[in-house]
Amino acid sequence: MSIIKAEALRYKYPMQDELALDHLSFSIDKGEFIGIIGENGAGKSTLCQALNGLVPHFHKGAYGGTVTVAGKTVHETSVGELSTIVGMVFENPVVQITGAKLTVYEEIAFGLENLGLPRSTIIERVDEAIELLNLAEVRDKSPFALSGGQMQRVAIAGMIAMRPEIMIFDEPTSQLDPQGATEVFEAIETLSRNGVTVLVVSHQMERLARHADRIMLMHGGRLVAFDTPERLFAMDFSGISVRRPVYTEIVRTVQKAGGISAETVPVTLEGAAEWLVKHRG
């Protein structure tokens, strides 16, 4: 069952000549894990913001087509209302800390207070989010006293507490060290296992390929391909500087040398090893 549906979505930022999103049409099913890849400026972040209403409500500009999220038409629904359906975690963990709260616990409760939920519900949901994101040890600390990975987990917890059906992560690990990135991807995996529809923008192809059900490849505001990782990374990306998972590259090099063509390629370490063993000799 489709939870996100875009039809001929077009968007142009004010003062820009080029379309940032150029006639995008796609649908995403409930519970899917979607990866979004592409070069810088491909329109990945703009697409994410078109799904939670920041485009066109926060970023004004020329907007066309329709996006429906859980049955609501995005351009006819306020960001506040959409925030209970679509959660979003941004690249920079520091700016996602509101600065208005003294502890991690209060920080996570911020969105729930804005939604006007009863105090008992706020406590119940914050406790759940803290447990899910493994933040019990830092619950009474200042959010600004945390590491980047912990801050990002607090940002995720703040969104999760609002119980969105969809979570969008816009390069959530690009400013984190490897440990922080691992913490965040583990949190995303947990959400996905709990049935949340997840969209992740990332350049970490190995991680995306391992977890994603399908991957979107964007270029110049257009959707170039939208398929399973095994099929998408087997395609020819000429003219688009997107790297494949390193395991896929090894297999493709061997395939080229052996004159083998295939519609799918392995995208994980285990898959590549299995393929190499199978084609040994």
Binding site: Q49, N52, L54, F58, S78, V79, G80, E81, S83, T84, V86, G87, M88, F90, N92, V94, V95, Q96, T98, G99, A100, K101, L102, Y105, E106, A109, F110, G111, L112, E113, N114, L115, G116, L117, P118, R119, I122, I123, V126, S142, F144, A155, G158, M159, M162
Partner: protein, 252 residues
């Protein structure tokens, strides 16, 4: 970044709005009743409350800071107030008069009392509790957020400034040395610092937006403000003090 001092005291447990009522009384009463005894009484009550809140020592640096100002009031009023007649003492060519010194004492007591009253609020109240109390009474959430966030975001902005300064120094900018060199170094930093602040502000605004900050729903709060019987009594006393002062002024 806050002046709040966490101590287990009855003053800390008072509602922030009660402390605001006390400030209103402590500021207005000594002005309505322009006599030293009233100003002294208000200041004395204020410092007793500060002592009850176990924060009186925290006010001393503030008093030390205003002491030169108060001293200058004594010198100027004591020597030059137009109503000066009764000489009290002289130091060489400097003559000090009773009327001027008395007026300076009144002004000083008012200043000391006002400083103490505001310190009572600031030192014994978490800023977030005060702002929550005001928001519950109708303060717009946008203003509440700014008041709350400014205390924590300013240090973050200072960190950003330091990062940008370090980056520019790594590229050869001289930020140390003579005053002129430092002033020259300041200008190349303005652009990146301002741009960084704009970008962060926009990003933070988006982050707030997705957390329903602009929701039209009536907000609720995680923390419940506990009101004590003492709060009601104190608010009535503050109001009564102001009314009595007005009556005293009108009758007297």
């Amino acid at each position: 970044m806050s002046l709040y001092v966490d101590r287990p005291s009855v003053i800390h447990r008072l509602d922030p709005l009660t402390k605001l009522c006390y400030i209103a009384a402590a500021v207005t009463v000594p002005f309505i009743c322009p006599v030293k005894s009233v100003a002294l009484l208000v200041a004395a009550v204020t410092y007793i409350l500060l002592a009850a809140g176990r924060v009186v020592t925290k006010v001393l640096p503030l008093l030390g800071f205003v002491a030169p100002v108060l001293l200058s009031i004594f010198i100027i009023q004591g020597m030059f107030m137009p109503d000066n007649h009764a000489l009290v003492f002289r130091i060489g060519p400097l003559y000090f008069y009773k009327e001027g010194l008395s007026y300076a004492a009144l002004l000083s007591l008012r200043v000391i009392g006002i400083l103490g009253a505001f310190s009572l609020l600031v030192l014994t109240t978490k800023p977030s509790d005060l702002i929550q109390a005001l928001m519950e009474k109708g303060l717009p959430p946008e203003i509440g957020y700014v008041l709350n966030a400014v205390l924590q975001i300013i240090p973050q902005m200072a960190n950003a400034l330091q990062r940008i300064t370090d980056a520019q120094r790594a590229r050869g900018l001289e930020t140390d040395g003579r005053l002129l060199d430092r002033i020259k170094a300041f200008f190349p930093l303005i652009g990146p610092v301002v741009m960084n602040a704009f970008v962060e502000t926009k990003d933070r605004a988006m982050a707030l937006e997705v957390r329903a900050f602009n929701s039209k729903t009536k907000r609720t709060f995680l923390h419940v403000r506990k009101k004590h019987p003492a709060d009601v009594a104190l608010r009535i006393m503050c109001l009564a003090a102001i009314i009595l002062a007005v009556v005293w002024r009108l009758v007297g």
